[in-house]
Amino acid sequence: MPEIKELVKQLADKHGRTRESLLPILQGLVSEERYVSDFAMTEVARELDMSAALVYGTATFYSFLDTQPRGEYVIRLCRTITCDMKGKKQILKTLEDLLKIEVGETTKDNKFTLLETNCLGWCHKGPAMLINDEIYTEITPEKVNEIIGEYMKK
């Protein structure tokens, strides 16, 4: 926990301590910790001198500001119809089989979380998925095997 305290302080030093700093701070937490814990939210509230409810309200509004523990690598597969038409369901099945988890779950070793997300903006190159901030397009089951294989080695 002292690490989170320190991280929140660093982020507040960087982004400021106003209401407008809140989103960049929460984004910073997610990029370091992959999620914003209750403890982190109360720390942010304390550091910015605002109610924890406000922090919670903001954090839970945004789908990329996860408030549940996530794996080291968060996979977000695009669920828009155009990706679906290019074989998204098969990709999803491949991911589920490979990682042995279902959508919304995290692998036991805390390495991967599998999620679906709304339009990623790669409709001409579907199916598309994000792994953390990295984008993968025109993916096939074979490519998914390769990509995930690489991440497993990391």
């Binding site: 209401r19 984004q27 509004f61 990329f64 709304n118 339009c119 409709c123 901030d133």
Partner: protein
């Protein structure tokens, strides 16, 4: 019907000019000259709503305030749209250039580019381009600074007032309007908020002149537009086309020969079936679009398409107003119940009435536009909703 034919245009991505020169020339012009060019060009917002860009700038310029802002809406999230990503990655200087022109006209010292979280990977390159752009401004002695802010995965933040809320560190819940952003936008100060593409056109209009732009398109839809083409097409991608063409031409160019329907304008847009291709104009007088063009061939189930859209809205509704929050849920449950045979086909009419009610009672454009896709798909593909 105007006999506009499909015509390719190359204004947005063309590299026949140095952005630095266009910027320098633009900044030499008087504010009136710049504003009149945008007004005379007939440019309307390219994010989908189509408000005249020149008027937005004019209203904001007329406001008395110690601080004004230019905001670039790069929260592109409409399903089927990817043109802003392409513009931002290929011609970022033109986007910043449009912001600077606007800043000059309205008298803003700070601009913000709100980039959707899904495009985080663009951030470093954008920042590099921005550093270069700031060095131009310094050379030209123009006092204006642009900041990049990130979104975090919320479609609703593309709605302008929700975007301001998000910039202010709050939940992205749309505000009541009026007041409009031109009076009270970011930090409740007069703000121009324009789509990425709109800003690039504004910048290019200062170079090519209002007339060249105005000569393209139709009376209601001047100029050209960047289209994001996806779905059942052999050539998916980004295309800049003159506005006002019949959908039939579009389908001929981009379809796979078996096109059953085109969803124009994304999940918030309209579904046009084959029999209406001929009489449908792509533009503000016909079916408007922020750029999303999803093509479906006869192998596709329009029920699946509609269900995908309704699920999308249900998930992305901010939940603030009842018509949208509950309406989206009921529309989803409703079509599922009809499909399973638990409800009769007549129930679709009830659902259509609900969608129409949402159109008049929802607080913002999200809830108001659910009826567009819902009604146009249910009307045109009723059998597919039932069997």
């Amino acid at each position: 019907m105007p006999d506009k034919k499909l015509k390719r245009v190359d204004l947005i991505f063309s590299e026949d000019c140095s952005c630095k020169d266009v910027l320098a020339d633009g900044l030499k012009k008087s504010n009136d000259e710049l504003l009149n060019e945008i007004l005379d060009s007939g440019l309307r917002g390219r994010g989908g709503a189509g408000f005249p860009t020149g008027l937005k700038w004019k209203f904001t310029a007329q406001e008395e305030s110690d601080e004004k802002y230019v905001v670039c809406n790069a929260d592109e999230g409409e399903p089927g749209t990817f043109k802003d990503r392409e513009i931002l990655s290929r011609v970022p200087l033109k986007v910043f250039g449009g912001m600077a022109m606007c800043a000059k006209v309205i008298g803003a010292k700070h601009g913000y580019l709100y980039l959707r979280g899904e495009y985080q990977f663009l951030r470093n390159d954008l920042q590099k381009a921005l550093d270069e752009f700031h060095s131009y401004l310094k050379e030209m002695n123009f006092d204006f600074q642009i900041h990049i802010l990130m979104g975090s995965g919320a479609y609703i933040c593309g709605e302008e007032s929700a975007l301001f809320e998000s910039m202010e560190g709050k939940r992205g819940e749309p505000r009541n309007k009026p007041p409009y952003p031109t009076v009270a936008g970011f930090r409740n100060k007069p703000t121009v908020i324009n789509n990425v593409e709109t800003l690039v056109y504004s910048f290019m209009i200062t170079r090519i002149g209002a007339k060249t732009f105005h000569d393209l398109g139709t009376a209601d839809s001047r100029g050209s537009k960047v289209f994001s083409v996806s779905g059942d097409t052999p050539i998916p991608g980004i295309y800049e086309l003159e506005l006002g063409m019949p959908l039939e031409d579009f389908v001929e160019e981009f379809g796979d020969g078996d096109t059953k329907a085109v969803q124009v304008g994304g999940a918030a847009g309209f579904c046009v079936p084959r029999k209406k291709f001929k009489d449908t104009i792509i533009g503000f007088e016909g079916v408007p679009t922020g750029g999303s063009m999803m093509i479906f061939n006869s192998s596709r189930s329009m029920y699946n398409v509609l269900k995908n859209y309704v699920e999308f809205f249900e998930e992305e509704s901010c939940g603030q107003c009842t018509p949208c929050r509950v309406g989206c849920q009921q529309l989803k449950h409703g079509i599922e119940a009809v499909k399973r045979g638990e409800r009769s086909a007549a129930y679709l009419d009830t659902l259509q009435k609900l969608a129409e009610t949402m159109k008049v009672t929802a607080k913002c454009g999200l809830g108001q536009s659910v009826a567009n896709s819902f009604s146009s798909i249910v009307d045109n593909f009723k059998e597919e909703m039932i069997y």
